[in-house]
Symmetry: C2
Subunit: 181 residues, 2 copies
């Protein structure tokens, strides 16, 4: 059932999933859904946790055996790729973890952890590593988000811009300790 909700989210956007549409797809009446999930907010939480966990797996798989620039590239391209193939689920990954839900916290932490570890391969530690992780995430997420809403209107191949952005990140992270405010 969550599976169908995820497919629906990918098709219509996370914010537009409704129990009505989900029930229709499953060939079931709306109230029956309450036997499986505790209302719309709970469904959102389910999708959120599963999506975070899924992207953590994807990123982890993409970076095994790689380091530095190689790991950075793999991370960036796997990230965008997954986001484009699963837009609704991707939206769900960009959500504050519910502090009261341990599974949510765990899933959030794991996804960030993969990035953190990959970037640690640049020899970054402490605040440097945190800043690098945050900046990497920000750049990639921003790109994905703007691309998803059709924010890149100018006549220029978006894939090429993305490669350029990743190259810029490589450059910056390569001399991160010299990148100071």
């Amino acid at each position: 059932m969550v599976i169908e909700a995820e497919l629906l989210a990918d098709e219509v956007g996370l914010a537009n999933i409704s129990l009505a549409a989900l029930a229709e797809r499953l060939g079931v009446k709306v109230p029956s859904l309450y036997k499986h999930v505790d209302g719309l907010p709970a469904l959102h939480r389910l999708v959120e946790v599963r999506a975070k966990s899924e992207i953590a797996d994807v990123l982890a798989r993409a970076t095994v055996g790689r380091s530095r620039d190689d790991a950075l590239d793999a991370l960036a391209f796997a990230y965008r790729d997954w986001a484009r193939r699963h837009p609704g689920r991707y939206e769900a990954t960009v959500t504050a973890p519910s502090a009261d839900d341990p599974s949510s916290m765990e899933a959030s932490g794991r996804a960030v952890g993969v990035m953190f570890d990959a970037l640690a391969g640049y020899g970054l530690t402490g605040d440097d590593a945190i800043d690098a992780t945050r900046s990497f995430r920000a750049a990639i997420h921003g790109f994905i988000a703007l691309e998803a809403v059709g924010g890149f209107g100018m006549p220029r191949d978006v894939d090429l811009t993305f490669r350029r952005l990743v190259a810029a990140l490589r450059l910056s992270l390569g001399e991160w300790s010299r990148v100071s405010a």
Copy 2:
């Protein structure tokens, strides 16, 4: 009335504004709102266009008389600053322009135009300039968005990370032509 909708959006999030809440604030019954705006989607469009126009003004004002690194810094800090002070309106700026609405197209174009012009000060033209603008926007937007959802959980001053991100952008844009995929 749009003003009140904007304040409401800033308080509860763009997605959570409702005609019911807006009417309550204005001390008016819900159907009365239809004398001023043609339904909830139309209200969203109004807020969107005004927000885009407002941020274009803010960015333009921030960059007058500045160039290169100086302009980049001013742009980045003004951007984040405005976004933090007006979270709901900021969300509204990150919306595909409705191709059928000229005012929306105009407002979108103006905001991007300011950034484009500021970055053109680095001597960038053509695809270089487009890539630079897109990358800059992506990085800043991603940071703002993650910050807004509470995505930066680690114990590290977020302001400092932002300064670092801007420094990285300065570095990359400074040698943008050498940043190739």
